[in-house]
Amino acid sequence: MASRREQLSTDLANDDQIILASGGYDHTIRLWQTSSGICQKTLQHSEFQVNALEITPDKKVLASASYQHIYMYDLISGSATPVVNYEGTSKNVTCVGFQENGRWMYSGGEDGRARIWDLRSKSNQCPKSFDTRHGTGTNLSPINCAVLHPNQIELFMGDQNGRIYRWDLRTDHNVQLIPENDVMILGIDISPNSAQMASVNNKGMAYIWNLSSSGSDASTTLEPKNKFQAHSRAVLKCKYSPDSRMLITTSADQTARIWDSQEYNLQRELTQNNQRWVWDAAWSADSQYVFTASSDNFVKLWNVATGDREREYPGHQKAVTALAFKDAII
């Protein structure tokens, strides 16, 4: 029994550097013990759903994008209530992310504005924002997704009207492109090796660009590489694996699919009967495992090599729409 306890305590120690958080329509954020599938902690969220989750690079803070607010939870103290509340977005905050040193945070919202929040200064003294082009009427076009280029100075965003924006944070210059008309860009990602960018839309299409940059001051240029029908229905998210060799797409067609980043052939299909919409995905640091969040109230862990479902994380009362995962290479 003693050895069992030791085993468990080492598990817990390991779990400290592994953080899995999920949130969704039941208005809670759950932190999971990845090995056992048991919910370690439930964080109190607002009266609104969780749109996106992100963990800071130092693994100390969890950010949750919600309606009009971004809530920050202190993962070290384990407080069940948020410690910081970033407000000012008039509609849903749809995406959130961090600069690699945790100096600032970016967010995109349905109010058509991307914001840079200074995390170091006390009163957010140096904010920066970017407005999308007008969509219907006088409203700005809602931002659905955003990703920071690994060079840390270019933010790529996708909006409700099918536009992709490249916003240079130093110069404030921006470039727009429209890969397909009459669609919504729902997901965007850049491979960690900065070589490729993927975007997915509500028609099930995926677009891939090769990225290149010449010199330290030159901005990134995009060169179309590939376009393919990834799913029969809307694609909700795309994410490159940490080794940049794979891309996962999650979809309303109840599947998540893994593609190689060379030819974009289908490698694995992660599906389960009645799992409904697959909203989000998160890779392990070694790209061997991937988590998915779906409308059947489950977070699931899949083995990428075999396509097997390794674990399930039950506890959410409603659809799970957002995931955040961080572990480390050991």
């Binding site: 029994m1 069992r4 468990l8 598990d11 390991n14 779990d15 592994i18 039941d26 208005h27 954020i29 990845t34 090995s35 056992s36 599938g37 048991i38 919910c39 439930t42 964080l43 969220h45 009266e47 209530t81 948020p82 910081v84 509340n85 970033y86 407000e87 000012g88 914001r115 929040w117 200074d118 170091r120 200064s121 957010n124 003294q125 140096c126 904010p127 920066k128 924002s129 280029h149 690994p150 060079n151 840390q152 100075i153 130093r170 960690p192 090796n193 900065s194 330290s216 940049s244 392990s284 640091a285 070694d286 061997q288 495992y289 674990r311 506890g315 009362q317 572990d327 480390a328 050991i330």
Partner: protein, 515 residues
């Protein structure tokens, strides 16, 4: 509601009301009610009351409530043909509404929606006080005051992505992969399916909080209940599953647990003692049906069969389990052993608690009167007190007989004597000659040992006969006997000696008869 409304209503001009029809629009009502009335005073009264009852600030009430009489007098003096019926009416009712009755106590206003909303806001602001709020400010405002502002170009530094390019060819392993491989043999917790009934952190969903006492734990740990928050829509069985999930994660591997239907939830006292008088909560019922917040989790012999803890079946099986343990020591029997130990501990606890004062409601069986008198029977290590419960409407005055108290040293014997149905009678024997106090007085309640008594030769002993519910009677008899055993006073020794003598003499008589 603003103050102008109040003024308006106070200066109501009676001429405003035409004889034909006036539309009354009740404010703050979801559907504006319309009514046709031609009684001016009624309308005025109604409007005034609508103001009073719908104004959450209480201002209208403050202003208007005292002046009802004044208004009425003013009203009728202006009317040329006052209706005599109306003027006689409502002399007592100041508020004057036909459908809204005002309480005399104005301070006890019902909580209005506004008050509830304010309270909720306050709750959120109190909670939010712990939270730091950062509001979005546009950059222009900040540029005016550049003190301490980090220049933008320091904030946005381009990282050379080429440096990150060289890929490590060696297959690295992540912490997650290692953990998953390591834990691949650990069986999956069978109760994880119940996790969805966990109500912790739920804001929009109704939840219920429970303190769960786990009877399978050793006595020392049992005192600390498991706090469980459960969604209100869950069934009792789901709650049991959720408890087992929490229990199995808290005490991972230390206890072998059975599937949820093998357990029952019982109502417990605040101190965690399972109340065996009630059956377990129906596993198929919704938890919100029950109002109890302290519950005990008890393992059943068979799934879903309510067995009370103190039933003899359970006890014998426990003892069996205890015996078996010598041959095999499986987990299940160990838990039985634990339960057995607990019962012994319970016995100890009762012995420990016996000297503590406790009051019971019982009936005195009295042969003089044909009815039984309800009394409070207070028992402590010092004395026994009998205090009649005076019935208000009782015509028979028991005032002559006040409360009686007997020092515990005067008590000689206590036993159950008779029982039918759920009732039990028990007898408390005491020494009449002991001490001097209250017992010297003529005691209306007690029967001295008369002709029927087996102890004729000792008029110094008297007794009470009480009647009570079976479990109460048993408890009282057990309690008194425990105290008597502890004290072993003079009276008790005399009584026992007398009893022995009696037996002896009986035997002698038999001998005589035989010879």
């Amino acid at each position: 509601m603003s103050f102008t409304h109040t003024e308006l209503s106070c200066n109501v001009n009676t001429n405003l009301f035409s004889k034909a029809a006036v539309v009354v629009n009740k404010q703050n009502h979801p559907e504006a009610k319309m009514a046709l009335y031609d009684n001016k005073y009624w309308l005025l009264s109604h409007i005034r009351n609508s103001f009073i009852s719908t104004d959450d600030t209480g201002m209208c009430e403050l202003v208007m409530v005292g002046e009802a009489k004044q208004v009425r007098e003013n009203f009728f003096s202006k009317e040329s043909f006052p209706d005599p019926d109306e003027s006689d009416e409502e002399d007592e009712d100041d508020a004057g509404s036909y459908d809204i009755q005002m309480d005399g106590d104005y301070t006890m206003r019902e909580r209005s929606m506004t008050a509830a909303r304010l309270e909720k806001l306050e709750y959120y602001s109190r909670k939010a006080a712990k939270m730091k709020h950062i509001k979005w400010e546009s950059r222009k405002n900040v540029q005016d005051e550049p003190d301490g502002v980090e220049p933008l170009d320091e904030l946005f530094v381009k990282k050379d992505t080429a440096k990150t390019q060289p890929e490590c060819k060696i297959q690295k392993k992540s912490a997650l992969s290692a953990l998953i491989e390591q834990s691949s043999n650990i069986p999956v917790n069978p109760y994880t399916g119940y996790a969805r009934f966990d109500g912790a952190g739920q804001i929009n969903l109704p939840t219920k909080k429970y303190r769960i006492y786990l009877t399978m734990l050793p006595e020392q740990q049992r005192n600390y209940p498991l706090n469980i928050c459960c969604v209100a829509a869950a069934k009792v069985l789901d709650l049991i599953g959720l408890i087992l999930l929490k229990f199995s994660t808290n005490y991972a591997g230390d206890y072998v647990l059975k599937p949820a239907p093998h357990y029952g939830l019982y109502i417990t006292e605040e101190d965690g003692e399972v109340d065996s008088d009630f059956p377990n909560l129906d596993p198929q019922e919704c938890v919100s049906k029950f109002g109890f917040t302290s519950l005990g989790l008890v393992e059943h012999e068979k799934p879903c069969q309510p067995i009370t803890v103190d039933s003899p079946v359970q006890v014998t099986s426990l003892l069996d389990g205890c015996k078996k343990r010598t041959t095999s020591s499986s987990r299940a029997e160990e838990t039985k052993q634990v339960q057995n130990d607990m019962m012994i501990m319970d016995g100890h606890n009762k012995a420990m608690e016996a000297p503590l004062y406790k009051s019971y409601t019982v009936f005195i069986v009295n042969k003089v009167w044909w009815w039984n008198i309800e009394v409070h029977l207070g028992i402590s290590s010092e004395k026994i007190e009998i205090d009649p419960i005076t019935q208000k409407n009782s015509k028979l005055k028991l005032g002559k007989q006040g409360p009686v108290s007997h020092p515990m040293d005067s008590i000689a014997w206590c036993e159950e004597t008779d029982g039918r149905g759920n009732k039990r009678t028990f007898r408390v024997v005491y020494s009449n000659s002991f001490g001097t106090g209250s017992t010297e007085r003529t005691n209306l309640y007690s029967n001295s040992f008369g002709l029927s008594s087996p102890l004729q030769s000792s008029p110094s002993f008297k007794h009470y006969d009480f009647e009570a519910e079976r479990n109460i009677a048993e408890e009282i008899v057990q309690k008194i006997n425990l105290i008597l055993e502890l004290r072993s006073g003079q009276s008790r020794r005399e009584y026992l000696a007398l009893k022995d003598k009696k037996h002896l003499s009986k035997r002698k008589q038999f001998k005589y008869l035989r010879s």
